[in-house]
Symmetry: C2
Subunit: 461 residues, 2 copies
């Protein structure tokens, strides 16, 4: 940064400090913490970290930063896997952790208004007494604002959809500090452009989300979980296809490969055969859940599965999904001290067996450890490519593997990211995935943020 720009930035920080007092931090520990990420990107700290407490305060911050042309990056829990919240061009990181309240639960309408810093586990706790739940469950205990910004999903998308389907409305502060409210409390609307859907997945590049209205679901009367081993991936994937096509309303249908089974055995003290598995969950009435489990058990067994086991015991279920949610950390533990390149492709389900098989062969040939697991009901899977920090050769090999996976997804009619988002990590594929559509995104960005101060350097050209 040259002298003039540096002075301007210091002036911005001074104005923000006047507004926020000690909730504007420039301490090395604050900057360091907000310059880190959970995967392989190098640290990129901001110039300052602001801790706003209200929508109005975010609006005032945006007015100041907009007048000074200062970048603003919204920060939830920092669990993005694509470097979304790194301060590529410095500026001010808005840490939303002090806006973490449940504002209002509307049990009758099955919706809830929350602030963006609330995490999904905190929301789950708050909803416990209501008989309702919010289904979206990325591996991390992410913030709901961050989940909306990256259009996150998780293990239940096959039944309940993604953040795209479960955000009813938003309060957003625009680049110039203007506050807008998208959506209504009605369940559906045909009134104009779907601004809610535009901001969901916009990765902080069009506005800062300061409030969310989320759709809730009734807790099912009964829940049961099941697990089934397979001798090969094709059999597992074919079982998934047959199950989905038969119209059985699966709540979860997750795939893990041999390497992931091994990681679970070590990290979570599980006792799984070192084979590909499907992990399943059923929601419904007690009799419906039993019937569904039986039907799926038959499908899996017919197609080569064995040891199909199901359980309605809550403690068995909890252990299973707790293990699944920690899969990323279990994979990391396979190689002590490792970091990872995490992939996230999603393909039409008819191409899933091919995509997984080719990826496994590619990983095996590379010598990089890379457990594969995924939300196969959606056609979405991840490889966790393990590398030792500082091992440039391994990192390069992992990035090349990830590159070939992305190209494979595009060749099969899929997407380079099912749920992690673009951030810094996937920008190189936007032109190929979207063609001229990427320019349309750029036109929208320019119309709403002409100075490019909202999370610059991410997603767009």
């Amino acid at each position: 940064m040259n002298g003039d720009a540096g002075r301007k930035r210091q002036n911005t920080i001074k104005q923000l400090r006047d507004l926020l007092g000690e909730r504007l931090q420039t301490s090395p520990s604050d900057l360091d913490l907000h310059g880190r990420n959970e995967t392989h990107f190098p640290p990129m700290p901001p110039d300052a970290v602001a801790y706003p407490k209200s929508t109005d305060e975010v609006s005032q911050i945006m007015r100041i930063c907009s007048a000074q042309g200062c970048p603003v990056i919204a920060w939830g829990t920092g669990t993005s896997l694509e470097g979304h919240a790194l301060a590529l061009h410095g500026g001010v990181t808005l840490d939303m952790s002090r806006m973490n309240r449940v504002i209002e639960i509307n049990a009758e309408d099955m919706d809830v208004r929350v602030q963006p810093g609330l995490t999904r586990e905190e929301l789950d706790t708050e909803l416990r007494a209501s008989g309702l739940f919010f289904p979206i469950d990325p591996g991390a205990n992410a913030s709901l604002g961050g989940m909306a910004a990256t259009r996150a999903s998780g293990t239940t998308a096959v039944r309940y959809g993604t953040m795209r389907d479960n955000v009813l409305g938003l309060t957003v502060v625009l680049a110039d500090g203007q506050i807008i409210r998208t959506g209504t409390r009605a369940r559906k609307s045909s009134a104009g452009y779907d601004l809610t859907a535009l901001f969901v997945g916009s990765e902080g590049t069009l506005g800062v989300i300061t409030e969310l209205t989320l759709r809730l679901h009734g807790r099912p009367e009964a829940v049961s979980a099941a697990i089934c081993a397979f001798d090969d991936i094709d059999a597992a994937v074919n079982s998934v296809i047959a199950t989905i096509q038969s119209g059985i309303p699966m709540a979860r249908i997750e795939f893990v490969d041999e390497a992931t089974a091994k990681a679970f055995n070590i990290y979570a003290k599980a006792d799984m055969p070192i084979k590909p598995h499907l992990l399943l969950e059923f929601h419904g009435s007690a009799s419906a859940v039993a019937e569904q489990a039986e039907q799926v058990g038959e499908i899996c067994t017919d197609l080569g599965g064995h040891d199909f086991q199901w359980s309605a015991r809550p403690e068995d279920r909890r252990r299973l999904w707790d293990m699944r949610h920690k899969a990323y950390y279990a994979a990391l533990a396979l190689q002590p001290g490792a970091t990872a390149v995490v992939t996230d492709i999603c393909v039409p389900i008819s191409k899933l067996a091919q995509a997984v098989s080719e990826t496994r062969a590619d990983i095996a040939a590379s010598g990089i450890p890379g457990p594969i697991l995924g939300h196969v009901g959606d056609g979405n899977f991840h490889a966790v490519l393990l590398i030792s920090p500082g091992d440039r050769k391994a990192e390069e090999a992992a990035l090349q593997l990830a590159h070939r996976m992305a190209k494979r997804a595009l060749a099969l009619g899929g997407t380079v990211t099912g749920e992690h988002g673009i951030g810094m990590g996937k920008r190189a594929y936007m032109a190929e995935e979207h063609g001229a559509g990427w320019d349309v995104m750029g036109s929208i960005k320019t119309a709403l943020d002409p100075q490019n101060i909202l999370n610059p350097g991410k997603m767009l050209r």
Copy 2:
């Protein structure tokens, strides 16, 4: 239009005729047909009607019209209820009826690629052998392009969502003739702004949809329908709320009032008591469907319903839903020769009983016949306000009723349109429903269509 503008328009038409030959029409009958609508708006014919056959042809048409600043209005079946496809500023209407093919059914991936002029009933016929179906069912036999453009829904949205949830991707021709493809064939993606969601519901103001990839669903193993009478609206609506909250996966849950029951008796030779009713449908396995019907029967009976009858016989079901789909025409038949102002508000379900009761009282006091019916699982209902053509006083009274309904929806946290769209009819409420969000829509419109040639005069400021 002044002389210069008129000559320019004639020049545009000449260029289009050179491109399209006899598929560019200016005959009075063509212009007249494409200047009409199904509700109360006066005729507004275009200057010419084009019948494109391909995406490339639409692109060439847009290049010509863009160079000449000529308005372009996409036309599906003309069944919009808000004057969407009227040529308010003249120009060229693109009649998409010759782009009505199913391009590809992917049974394994449960999706289908179609051209926009295909109607929902034609698609239903094409899918019959596949074991799959497309659930969205507005009353009219609308085109799928038109349904996407207005974010349509119908009786099954409570289970399967609206067009928002069932369009996986689009091919769109932009104002300057550029062709983009949104979405992929993957079931979900976090790759950039959700352009699919932006174009769905954009009412032809951002681009012309020339191809759609739609999500299909497995035909349920068993289907049963039910009907239940109530003595008052509150009891019916409370039954709906209790049913939804209990997590019973309703496929359809529709409300009709006494006046609609009477219309059904006359128009469809039904034999319903002149009372409010719920019409219901259940999808699932044979045992699940029976269990659900029993549970809902108990809920309705507990809350004051009577004569709960259910049937798994296909012919009973078909008769019921055929009657429901023709409700608009049945209502019109209550007053021979009538036209109608059709309302479409959607409110949080906790406000539904209040919204319906107040609306009924308001209609009763007005003296205008106005049957009420709706997709109450979504909080969405319609009043069909009957007026004799030329009766200005009745028309004014009906429009005032509709105005008060719209205001009521907004006051209750709802939307002025659940599924019909804005078009010309609801523009006056956009500022109140969206506040500064309406300006954001305007910025996006200006960025993508700076000349305002795509369906000008609709939805936006």
